[in-house]
């Protein structure tokens, strides 16, 4: 068990390293160097060249990646904070500490000042959506998996398929037209302050709805498949044959076993939700993590983008590990020594 965990942790670390290197390599395509972005559009070419030389931004890719990694783990100080660059970038945490994501050229602030706040906002949004997705998809999945191909199954399946076909921006447009324009009972933007005259809880309704609409159908379909597989098992037939009531067969025998596989699916949805929040946050002007990723990649803010990717990949691999561990706890047949 310990060996399994250590193995997985090493794998996680390797995945995150590779992922951050891939992002670093892709960002090299960006026209416009770090120096130009730090100095702004009004700096002379000479100033840009000088800063480029100072930051050694013309070194080979691998060398620069190594330097970025060194700054991240706190082995070397952040070159952008060096007073000799004349940029006046100051991180209150100092220039050399573990978890230093560097300086955001977009916000002109340390990445750590921006990103955690935004991540917290997104966690609230995604968490609320998740709280609704789980029970909704379980109810839909279990009900349609009870009798495969029956009228209830077909109806619920078509409903789920329809909802999964509505991407966030489309449902955003539909819901805003309905509940903001035609029947104004909800705010159309969610900036998380009350300047627009709407209390903050109201601002969560539409973004959460948009996320739930696109996501719950997919999870429900997964739970359905798992429920169908369980209902075909011999022990269910035995339970029915010995005269057990349908309700006890479902609640006592089928449900617990049907929930094992979807447990992993549900955890993997956290990764899917991060994709979803990018669009949702843009539609509703929500100050979150997804919009930060979008802004950073459009601007070419490598530090922010690297930090954001590293965090999303970390979330993905940690949920994957939790999924596997939970799977082992729930299903005694799958135990790794």
């Amino acid at each position: 068990m310990v060996k399994f965990l250590l193995n997985r942790l090493a794998m996680m670390l390797l995945t995150m390293l590779c992922a951050s290197f891939l992002v670093f390599a892709v960002c090299e395509y960006t026209p416009g160097s770090v120096a130009r972005k730090s100095l702004g559009p009004f700096a002379t070419q000479q100033q840009v060249d000088l800063l480029t030389a100072k930051l050694k931004a013309n070194d080979p890719l691998v060398v620069r990646y190594g330097r970025w990694l060194g700054v991240l783990v706190g082995a070397i100080p952040d070159p952008l904070q060096d007073p000799s660059t004349g940029l006046n970038f100051k991180d209150p945490r100092g220039s050399q500490y573990f978890g230093n994501f560097g300086y955001s050229t977009l916000n002109k602030l340390p990445v750590n000042d921006v990103i955690w706040n935004r991540l917290g906002n997104t966690a609230i949004l995604a968490g609320l959506a998740f709280l609704l997705i789980v029970p909704l998809s379980i109810i839909f999945g279990i009900l349609s998996g009870l009798k495969e191909g029956g009228p209830l199954d077909r109806t619920l399946s078509v409903i789920c398929i329809t909802f999964t076909s509505i991407p966030e921006f489309a449902s955003g447009v539909f819901l805003v037209t309905l509940f903001v324009i035609l029947w104004p009972i909800l705010p159309g933007t969610s900036p998380l302050n009350s300047d627009g005259g709407w209390a903050i809880p109201y601002q969560f309704v539409l973004p959460v709805a948009v996320l739930v609409i696109y996501d719950f159908g997919y999870v429900a379909r997964m739970i359905r498949v798992s429920m169908i597989a369980v209902m075909e098992r011999p022990y269910i037939r035995t339970a029915v044959l010995k005269g057990m009531s349908t309700r006890r067969v479902i609640l006592g025998h089928a449900l617990r076993n049907a929930m094992i596989a979807p447990f992993t699916v549900l955890l993997l949805q956290i990764n899917f939700l991060i994709s979803g929040v990018v669009v949702t946050e843009l539609v509703f002007a929500y100050p979150g993590f997804g919009r930060l990723i979008l802004e950073a990649s459009l601007f070419g803010d490598i530090s922010t983008l690297e930090a954001a990717t590293l965090i999303t990949v970390a979330i993905a691999v940690v949920t994957q590990l939790l999924g596997d561990l939970g799977y082992m706890l729930l299903d005694p047949r799958i135990r790794v020594r």
Binding site: L22, V26, S165, F169, A170, S275, V278, L298, T309, A316
Partner: protein, 291 residues
């Protein structure tokens, strides 16, 4: 009455025999038929776009700009620049229905190759391919698209590249699972015994047996890719103008949503209907081809 029953029974038997041929079975599922109808509608609209009596999708009708509501000249109204929405919708279908299937086709080729190699050979080839897939699959899909397209620029080629990178690992994983199950079958052993080469075994023995799962998956992926292209357009990373692009149409008009909601509602509804078509079709095929 009884005399009439006999030919009926014969006919029923013949229909049933025909239904066993896979493609015909789709027509027995109502959801698949609805999906097929939606997809066919848009494919027909896209194919017929040049011969339909439509206004130009890129020319502005200045007279319509003050009153962009549906009229005899513009059946679905005009957008903020006075361009005919119906024409932009139908020409947009051309873009989306060529880029999405093309991207998925390329991604399928790459993904199936990865899965075949990993599943058939196993060993270190499997380890390398699976680890690489794990890394890509750890990214949230949209983040891959946004990072890639924002950096290499929006174009058809780049969308194909991004789709391939984002979807091939998933396709590879499915194929690998299927191949792992199939390669222990007797007919594979028989083919090996006949000293068939590996390429023959992969393409002639294994691939056709993965067919139904992969076709369903491709159909679902076309739906997802249409959504992704729409999202990219909505984020401002879509195909460059003047190509009409559904996501881009929503983006352009969403700022005036509270004045002229139709401009955003129509392309959104079009996108949903096409994606729904592919999803229902995929579901119908899965039900019809269930082993």
């Amino acid at each position: 009455m009884a005399a009439l029953d006999i030919p009926d029974a014969v006919q029923v038997a013949r229909i049933k025999r025909q239904a066993r041929s896979n493609w015909m079975r789709i027509f027995y599922s109502r959801t698949a038929l609805i999906g097929l109808f939606l997809v066919t509608f848009w494919v027909a609209a896209a194919l017929l776009a040049p011969v339909l009596p439509l206004p130009s999708p890129t020319d502005s009708d200045v007279m319509a700009m003050g009153n962009p509501y549906p009229s005899a000249a513009h059946w679905l109204g005009t957008d903020i620049l006075g361009r005919d929405i119906l024409a932009r919708l139908i020409f947009g279908a051309r873009t989306v229905l060529s880029v999405a299937p093309l991207s998925v086709a390329v991604a399928m080729i790459v993904g199936i190759t990865m899965g075949m190699l990993a599943g058939y050979y196993g060993g270190w080839i499997d380890t390398v391919i699976s680890r690489f897939s794990d890394i890509i699959l750890a990214f949230p899909v949209l983040v891959i698209y946004v990072i890639l397209i924002a950096n290499i620029g929006p174009s058809v080629t780049n969308i194909v590249i991004a789709t391939t990178i984002a979807s091939a690992p998933g396709i590879g994983r499915i194929t690998r699972g299927l191949v792992l199950g199939l390669k222990e079958q007797e007919y594979i052993a028989a083919a090996r015994l006949r000293a068939e080469n590996t390429l023959y075994i992969m393409l002639v023995e294994l691939l056709p047996n993965c067919r139904s799962m992969l076709i369903v998956d491709a159909c679902l992926r076309i739906g997802y890719t249409i959504i992704t292209i729409g999202i990219l357009g909505f984020l401002g990373l879509g195909l460059p103008p003047p190509n009409p692009d559904w996501g881009g149409m929503v983006k352009e008009s969403v700022t005036v949503l509270n004045v002229w909601p139709l401009m955003s509602l129509i392309p959104s509804a079009a996108l949903v209907s096409l994606v729904l078509g592919f999803n229902l079709l995929a579901d119908g095929m899965r039900e019809a081809w269930k082993p």
